[in-house]
Symmetry: D4
Subunit: 204 residues, 8 copies
């Protein structure tokens, strides 16, 4: 079975490979426990919708131009793995990290932000009670955060960051957004024109 030490070795060896940035994951998604996956998978959903592919083998990039990877990293059970992941991020070619954690000591996002600096980290508080711990960084140690559970938005924000450099991503962001807007217009018109009772009847 893999040990924490094995994973650390893997990450450090990947950092040493000096890969072409186009073949490394653009977005790293980390979470404190696999029990966070249901909340965090909003990020994967958004990235998939925006045309990103999941890279499961660092040495073998998917055909798609933009990719992401996922790891479980526990700040409190595996602080050494957290340190290795954050420390190797830039050399492994990551451009943005999305880090989610729950509980009142949700340290993974902000510790990763401190270690991986200046690579930007978007913190996702997995629970409402995690917001303060994720966002509360001292002056000089930046993190940006989304609201509790909003991993979908974290992925949009990650792509907004990437889109500064990659203009094609702006188009993808706008397209997704237009769908959302069309949904509002559609439901608004139906609710108004059918009236409350009619709308409800239609909804069944």
């Amino acid at each position: 079975m893999t040990t924490v030490e094995d994973l650390i070795t893997r990450l450090e060896s990947e950092a040493d490979q000096d890969r072409d940035p186009e073949t490394t994951p653009d977005v790293g998604v980390v979470m404190g426990s696999d029990s966070d996956l249901d909340v965090m998978s909003g990020a994967h959903e958004a990235l998939d919708e925006l045309g990103f592919a999941e890279q499961t083998d660092f040495g073998d990039a998917p055909a798609e131009r933009f990719t992401y990877e996922t790891y479980v990293v526990s700040a409190h059970r595996t602080p050494d793995l957290m340190y290795a992941y954050g420390g190797a991020a830039a050399d492994r070619g990551l451009d943005v990290i999305i880090a989610g954690a729950g509980g009142k000591s949700a340290d993974l996002p902000n510790m990763t932000a401190s270690i991986a600096y200046p690579t930007p980290v978007i913190g996702v508080p997995v629970q409402e009670k995690s917001v303060g711990s994720v966002i509360g960084m001292p002056t000089g140690a930046p993190i940006v955060a989304v609201d509790a559970g909003k991993s979908y938005n974290a992925a949009l924000s990650a792509v907004q960051i990437l889109s500064r450099e990659h203009e094609e991503l702006r188009g993808r962001l706008t397209e997704t957004h237009e769908d959302l807007r069309a949904d509002v217009a559609d439901v608004s018109e139906r609710l108004h024109d059918r009236g409350v009772d009619g709308f409800r009847a239609d909804r069944g």
Copy 2:
């Protein structure tokens, strides 16, 4: 399918029609999402009880003297629709707006209040956590709000406002209130006279 732009065009065109105020909706009900409808329909219930009719076609007013309309308007997904709705409110003949939204950034009520000013807006926080965001306006930018989820009361308050001008509405407000008071008297007497055990037995 209707687009946000279509709806904006519709609202602006209605604003230009300079309709007789007696044929336009008196109360506009807007909400951030149709998922808010279950909470917001307390407003429709109260308005129905007070003899208001729902107007689903701006150009074709119901026979009843007092009417309301309903739209979904998302502050964060369709800010342009929110601007159009608030900006056209007075010209479309609305006298009061009831605006409900959920989440911690429940911006629809207070943004609508700012845009539609001086038309009065009654904010309905759809969730407990929305109260602060709905109510917290700076000096000079007024909104009035009811408690979380109290859309029924928002409608009563809207009619209290209309009743300043339309005295007949005061009578309707008092009648509804008398029913409520009679319910209290009835249950109070039964609980007292039957005793706790008897009352419970009666309730089955």
Copy 3:
């Protein structure tokens, strides 16, 4: 010295006089204690700016068309006075009541709303901790509230209510608002065009 009973007698006698509504106060401002006056005087300030006059003698109306009056009414020390004030409100010709109270049991606004119903009452929580108590009314017993300490906005809202019937008030509301907007434009341009350091230097 005046007793609570004297004041109750006075209010009830005024209610019996059946005065011409144009000569009675349009807005009644009540507060739980004179220690609330500093917070509540934002309401007086706004009313003054909008051309309202203070009516200090019920039998002798000022020349101005729109007027307000002020009383101290303690829900917990003088509940009978609170009942008398709320109960006499409509007959004394009040159109809107602004009621402010502090503490965690800020009962004056909501009790007044219950007693004076269907006359609209705008609650002003005098302290942050008063918000829940002011706003938290059950279904069927409406109050509308502004944020803690926002008595100025409460007065704007009161006038928004009156302006449904009195169109001239809409103009006054808009004028005041334009001044506020001009201030924003002015400071925004100066901050931008002078730059942060220049702006601060100008401010001295």
Copy 4:
């Protein structure tokens, strides 16, 4: 059907009867709504355990020396009934009032305390969010309160108050308490001596 006015008349007429205190209810239990009954019936349970009888007819006292009565009184829907109940309390022979209400504006307990003063009122916040509103009285307007939902304790406290005058009640209070203590001793010994696993197995 009974009206609020009927109940007020009833209470006032009872207050005028100048009954022998031994035949009037010692404890009055009031609550804002019959939906509070499930929480408030802890008070009835405790009073029953302490040998109190429920008096459902003011003119016809039960044989037991100590009695209680129950009414629904809504502060916000029937403020006049609340005023009548609190105002008539002393003359109707009540010695202590237990008043429970829910919501964030849980005004029944503290308004009743203000009106019935100096008859002592024990406030029961029916929900956690009612605590602040129940307890937050200004200086000079006393109420005492128990924790949210603790109507059982409110009844014990009411009897502690009565026991100052009626020594026999102290004995009853102590007996009930001994049962509670015996339960703790019993479970403590079994948990310790059987061990955690044995204890759980016994519990099934």
Copy 5:
């Protein structure tokens, strides 16, 4: 210097003296630290206003019929003294205890209530953050509490309890209350009749 053990001996010896209740303190005021005295002295002030005298020598009662005494008892530094004080309360002739403590573990009031039961204890949270700890007792272990810092009201409540047995105290409670009401009436009339500006000018 006195030791904790000396005080315990003193209290236990007083409990054994079987004194005439008319010569023992009616109200015991305890606080967790002398730093609480500024908050707690509201209780002394109210008791003084109601004609109570302070008894500083258990063996030598003042001439006044109603008396109180004061001790510092720290739940966490002197748990044995707390146990002795609560345990001896009934035998030392105390009828009501007012117990105040600060901090988030404000255990003195509720532990004293548990130990002195069935003697009634009124808890005074000395700080806002102490409210939960003071009030949060489990079923079967009653305490009643006032709001944070309201020691004055705690004393009124204590006297309300005593007044069940001692009717003369009801009169004193009502008199004090009338003064308070007169103050409200006076300031209310002056604010109304002089107007806001005149009232302020008068106040200087």
Copy 6:
């Protein structure tokens, strides 16, 4: 049936036996009610995993070198039992106490810490709302606490304390920890290498 007094006698008699420390429980686990057992049994689970045995008979120690015992002790229903347990702790050979309680007045942990001082007490707030009451001790009266519900961690901490003296326990603590770390490494590798969809499919 056992009474509280019986248990007190038992504890005091055990304290007088001057037993060999190797035969007395090292860790005492107390909780306010047997309804806390589900939360508190995390402590038993951790102690079992670390090779501790439960001692259910003070006079008959298990063969294992390290042991624990469990009692129910209610601060508010049986304050005398709490005093007896805390007071006898050192003489009964306890090295660390783990004390858990729920509610807003979770006094058992901190009162036990005050009484048993200088024996260390680790407080376990059984509910989130118990945290403040457990942790909030004044200067000079120490307690250490874990987060709400974390009785498992409280046991680890208790053993960390014992391990200062007993080096063999450090090894056991590290072993348990390694298992935990291996779990993280395993799930992390599988999530990454299989990808989100593959991982979920594997999980079934």
Copy 7:
């Protein structure tokens, strides 16, 4: 004096100029009021330290490669200006917006994020109570936020975003960070080696 309409015209005209991105501000700093300037100027400080210049004339770029601009935009007093600023952002060449606002309805950051989308917006809650309103966006409407008052960190994050495209900025970010780290090392060594008393004495 400039009006809101003047500013809107200015912004829209600048958007139409299709300027070379190298001559437009990279970062736009907006705040709800000039009273927020003291909190928000942390952003200017950080940008200055990182070699950015303030651009006070859109048509006349400073010599430095990276620049920022500053405007006051009130969401509630000037919603039209907010709409114009956000709507023109991309065409005016802004790459990132830092938006700060205070109060409980801190709508400027999240409304700007909605309007300027997909240009990234970093929200700065100017007060602790603004955090929820700034961060609480619904799915599909992203914002990223820093902690209350952390405008300095918001600027670092803005530059982290820009640094994805402009590698030279990474170097500047790291340099600033090294200074911060050196400060920690220095004070840590002095505190340790001098001891607490010596360190304090040195500090004077």
Copy 8:
């Protein structure tokens, strides 16, 4: 000037020296910033009172048997230093660590607890808002904490831990405690016997 790297080298070299435990610091005090020193120096004060000496040179132990050392370690600015300190703790001979940090992401205490495990760490939240972040560890990653600002108690708890092995420390802990108890007895007697007014007069 010392760099972070210098300090890390120093700590690692000390860890390699395999010093006699009697000559190494028993307690390590770390804090996130020297601005925390005023809060954290309560720990130094308590340690000094209990006869501990400060060791400012790892290679040159003071004569006293028990010693402590102090470092500033910033979790977010110098995560590598935090890893080095926690990782070297056991080998540098530390028996207990007291770690304090402020802010809402007070990560130093819990990260140090994770890294230094199984060496016990006592967390000190430097501000009230730091409590959740310090205490909120997941199952399997223990920390114990004191209340916000209670560094004095943290030191007492650290010595309680050491006293399991070093019996002489129990005596010191008890002595200090007796002084505290004597203070309570003294002030309690004076307040009671002099009366409130007399006590105040004495205090001047």
